[in-house]
């Protein structure tokens, strides 16, 4: 008795590993293309890129948040591979056909089988062919009764252990026959024929599974929540059908505190195409509004002059102010288009936002209340998104919101169309398995 040379074993390993192939993630090319298009980056950006793509850690400013949510760690590789001593011996049906030959059936680990079916099947065909030659030459001794039972029992520990990986049908398709000594060519040929049939089944299953996987990735439901400050401005349009003239407007400075507003939004998001997502949700917005103005009206404020030089008529003027707290709630809907993936996922978005005021208390010195006011606005958004883990994504979203239809009863000789620029920070949660 002599063992086979060990080199055969390592050559086999080399051959298998050298030809091993695995599909990368779908967005790999986007990342590579992004890397190719960019100029050499500072080290800090390279670090950010690694962080963003690692799905373990988010952006530095949100370390605490990340620490809370980035708890998912991959399970140890070996967790499912421990052999189980208790097992059931499985013999192929061919055992009955050739009573003197012990044909031992082994199932292949299912997890691996799902993605490697085609390759394995071709290997099985090859194996069957290779075995045929020494069998004909009588190079292998016949397994004695003890060996033929004991040996498969040991190997069956693997088969039993792998039943946890699911898909019974595929396991059956992955049956490999270790034909005993007196197996004839017809048996090997049957192996080949059977393998060919199995290959078709497995390839079909693989294609279907791949398609299902892509569909599942496409239609992952998501929810989002975002909050952020904004700076509000407005376009004032004087009323033309009255007899007053606005002579002066006094507004707060560009970055004055009373221009600062705050918004909250939450809703659903859904990927309808690889690069396209739609969203819809509820929104809330609050802001102080304070406008002081001077207006001249028809009453005389004084007349200066004489008959020779003429008269200067000065209309009467008065100062007023519009001051109120704007509290709006409403709905929003729109879509995002992913333009590129570099460092982060970059998305452009457009949307509509409809809000109604519900603040019933008037501001000091003003009769106007925000309640019942209606605002229809469009939004232009730019979202930069990074994965925190498999289920959570963090984003920064600068945005511009402009009202194009406003229904306010300001009791003032002008109308206002507000617009604002802001930046929101949000979280997306993906409902995927």
């Amino acid at each position: 008795m002599k063992n086979l040379p060990e080199n055969n074993f390592w050559n086999e390993i080399k051959d298998r590993l050298d030809h091993y192939a695995e599909e990368p993630d779908d967005d790999s090319w986007d990342k590579i293309a992004g890397g190719l298009n960019s100029a050499p980056r500072p080290r800090i950006l390279a670090w950010l890129e690694r962080r963003a793509s690692s799905t373990q850690v988010g952006l530095p400013g949100f370390v605490v948040l990340v620490a809370l949510v980035a708890g998912d760690q991959p399970a140890p590789l070996w967790s499912g591979f421990v052999a189980n001593a208790e097992h059931e011996e499985v013999y192929s049906a061919r055992e009955d056909a050739t009573s003197s030959d012990k044909t031992i059936a082994l199932t292949v680990p299912k997890e691996a089988a799902v993605s490697q079916q085609e390759h394995n099947t071709s290997r099985q065909v090859k194996s069957a062919r290779e075995r045929t030659v020494p069998q004909k030459a009588g190079a292998y001794t016949r397994f004695d009764e003890t060996a033929s039972v004991k040996a498969p029992a040991a190997v069956q520990a693997i088969a039993h252990d792998t039943t946890d990986f699911g898909n019974e049908i595929l396991a059956k398709n992955q049956v490999v026959s270790l034909v005993g000594v007196s197996a004839v060519d017809t048996v090997a040929q049957e192996d080949i024929d059977k393998d060919k049939k199995e290959k078709k089944v497995v390839v079909n299953a693989s294609t279907k599974k791949e398609a299902e996987k892509k569909m599942a990735q496409l239609h992952i439901p998501m929810v989002y929540f975002q909050a952020g400050p904004s700076l509000a401005y407005h376009k004032i349009t004087p009323s033309t059908n009255d007899d007053v003239t606005i002579t002066e407007l006094k507004e707060s400075g560009i970055f004055a505190s009373d221009r600062v507003g705050f918004s909250l939004e939450a809703g659903f998001q859904y990927r309808v195409a690889p690069l396209l997502e739609v969203y819809g949700g509820l929104s809330y917005y609050q802001q102080q509004q304070h406008i002081r103005y001077t207006m001249a009206h028809g009453a005389s404020g004084g007349v200066v002059g004489n008959p020779d030089d003429g008269y200067v008529f000065t209309p009467a003027t008065s100062q007023h102010e519009v001051k109120y707290t704007m509290r709006n709630a409403g709905v929003s809907a729109g879509m995002f288009y992913r333009v590129k993936t570099h460092l982060l996922e970059h998305k452009l978005g457009v949307g509509l936002l409809y809000q109604q005021g519900f603040q019933s208390a008037a501001g000091e010195g003003s009769a106007y209340t925000n309640k019942g006011s209606k605002y229809l606005q469009y939004q232009l958004l730019y979202r930069m998104e990074a994965g925190l883990n498999d289920h959570m994504r963090l984003y920064f979203q600068p945005g511009y919101t402009h009202a194009f239809h406003v229904d306010e009863k300001l009791n003032a000789p002008f109308t206002i169309k507000p617009y604002r620029a802001g930046i929101s920070v949000g979280i997306v949660y993906l409902f995927k398995k």
Binding site: F9, A21, E23, S28, W29, L36, L106, H119, A154, I158
Partner: protein, 184 residues
């Protein structure tokens, strides 16, 4: 085999050609990266870096026929770069006197393992062992070359390889394989 037209277009940094080349070799190079990386996530990073290097330096390749081998070597070296970046966390285990494992019929065992499963077994090796094993057994580097690449001595490379083989056999054995005696 990569067509010379595709090769020349990639040299001219044609985006479509680059994507075609990527599509042709993504799975193969990802498979290579998976063998060197501890997990799929790291393999993704290596793959992306490798392809960026490939497209950036493809002008160094003189002929289309040499491209495939060159691409593989770029991926291997990128994986080694990753290893050097994480070097502080990598420990070459003390191998001591590695005992021999009975030479069971691994061939039979291998026939019944999928490639993916086999790669997961390789991934389960300690990092130093895994690198040396891949470089020596699969890529065919010599111990002198491996020592230079990894910054270790030739002796370390040899002992790591021996230890890797021992661990690999041992793990296959724990999966349930027993001796199938055959006459030579």
């Amino acid at each position: 085999m990569i067509g010379s037209e595709l090769f020349e277009q990639c040299k001219r940094k044609d985006g479509r050609a680059q994507q075609s080349l990527y599509m042709l070799y993504k799975a193969r190079l990802m498979g290579l990266c998976r063998r060197y990386a501890a997990d799929r996530e790291e393999a993704q990073d290596i793959l992306q870096e490798a392809f960026i290097k490939i497209f950036t330096n493809i002008h160094q390749v003189s002929a289309a026929g040499k491209l495939e081998g060159w691409m593989k070597s770029v991926a291997v070296r990128t994986a080694i770069d990753h290893y050097h970046k994480r070097k502080r966390s990598v420990i070459f285990p003390e191998t001591g006197n590695t005992p021999e494992v009975a030479n069971a019929d691994y061939e039979t065992m291998l026939d019944n393992l999928t490639d993916e499963y086999l790669v997961s077994v390789i991934n389960g090796l300690p990092e130093g062992c895994r690198l040396v094993f891949n470089l020596f057994v699969v890529e065919g580097y010599s111990h002198t070359e491996i020592a230079g690449l990894l910054g270790v001595t030739e002796g370390t490379s040899r002992s790591q390889l021996h230890h890797a083989k021992f661990l690999l056999k041992q793990r296959l054995t724990t999966l349930g394989v027993k001796r199938y005696e055959k006459l030579a």
